[in-house]
Amino acid sequence: MTNKEFKVPPVAFPSAGNPASAGPNLQQRRMPTPPFQPNSGIPFMSFDIGSAAASTSSGPIYTGPAVGAGGSANFDDEEPLLDELGIHPDQIWSKIRSVLNPFRVNHTVHKDSDLSGPILLYMSFCLFQLLAGKIQFGVILGWIVVSSIFLYVVFNMLAGRTGNLDLHTCTSVVGYCLLPVVIFSALSLFLPVDGVIRLSVAAVFVLWATRASAGLVVSLADGGDEHRGLIAYASFLIYTLFSLLVIF
């Protein structure tokens, strides 16, 4: 027993000693050459890094106060947000009220065309359709664009050389005169789904929208007086198309 215990340690030492003695020798031989080159390179890099850090630190200090001073100076003189965006609520309301009168549309308030009122009506239309269980945001907005271009082309072709209806005015008129259809979509939430009642109510609102739209387009642009009936039929097609979305 004791002899075996004595024999194990001597065997371990020589096996560990051989690689240990070889390793340090190789490391010592490799060590001298690498240290010289990095030592010579490091001081130059450290100097550059230091100078770069100094330059970057100075920049923000100088630019910060100027920005703050500029902002504080301009803020008091800025226009209200709605004016800057070109949205005039009183103008929108007066235009909507003019379209609400089904017998005589006041076309003077529509001289200045805008698109914020129409967008408001589009969103209302989409909302009422959503309440009826129909998700038709893309369809309504897409058909609005196509309808406006359609009426714009038809009017300017019929009017000939004297036609001066621009696409912005046309889109504005088509959008505002969509109000009766929007009212119909809200009203249809309470109407029975089947039957002649729905179609009859739709016919009333479509004729109302057609009359308003044709009247506005003819009065706002030149060259449309002798083609009122033909332009009215184009408007009739447009608002019938949108009423189909409400009826069915």
Binding site: G160, L230, L244, F248
Partner: protein, 269 residues
Amino acid sequence: MYGNVGSQPGVQQSQTSLPPNPFGSAFNVAGSGLIRGGLGAYGGKILGSSSEYVQSNISRYFSDPQYYFQVNDQYVKNKLKVVLLPFLHRGHWTRITEPVGGRLSYKPPIYDINAPDLYIPLMAFGTYVILAGLSLGLHRKFSPEALNLLFIKGLLGWFMQAALLKVTLLSLGSGEAPLLDIIAYAGYTFTGICLAVLGRIILGYSYYFLMPWTCLCMGVFLVKTMKRVLFAEVRSYDSSRHHYLLLFIALVQFPLFTWLGNITINWLL
């Protein structure tokens, strides 16, 4: 080490600087002169010829679209009568011409009942889409996607009708009719289809009477009109061939009307 590194770049710099100076400058001068002169000459020729080519093609294929919209209420009513009831058209089918600028031109639609217009085809096409939506809705099948498909189906029908008329004219050796004329004549198809579809919406069984009737009326209208177009363009007369092709035009109206008048979600049928 520093001395060696410094000397090598110096030698390279001297080698690179010496050779290219005279040769490079000479090539640049010669190249710029030749290229500028050549581009100027050829550019002018190309632009001139291409602009002339485009102008000639535009005047050939796309006559003034304004001409086709010179209409009024009276013309629209009378034209609808001619298209839907061609048997009752007592006058002639020849278009009225007038000398303008030393050459003969046709009178605009507002002065000539036989002149084609684009207002009626456009409105008829729109009415077709609306009536298709209404028909789908009454059968509980309405959806915006279905309406979009029917819009495409209508455009396809319009294109096929225009292609039929164009190919017929070309096969008879006459390809001079303006493209917008052909499109206008093809667009009148939708007036008859709208009448048939409207009849079906109002009274279901009237469709089976109105559809053949409108096919026949459109066939007669197209035969009369194409005959005038052919006689205006073709000087030589081959009666048998002309008659067969005109009869072919009339017969094709029946399947085309049936296809366009069949309002279903499956737009291939």
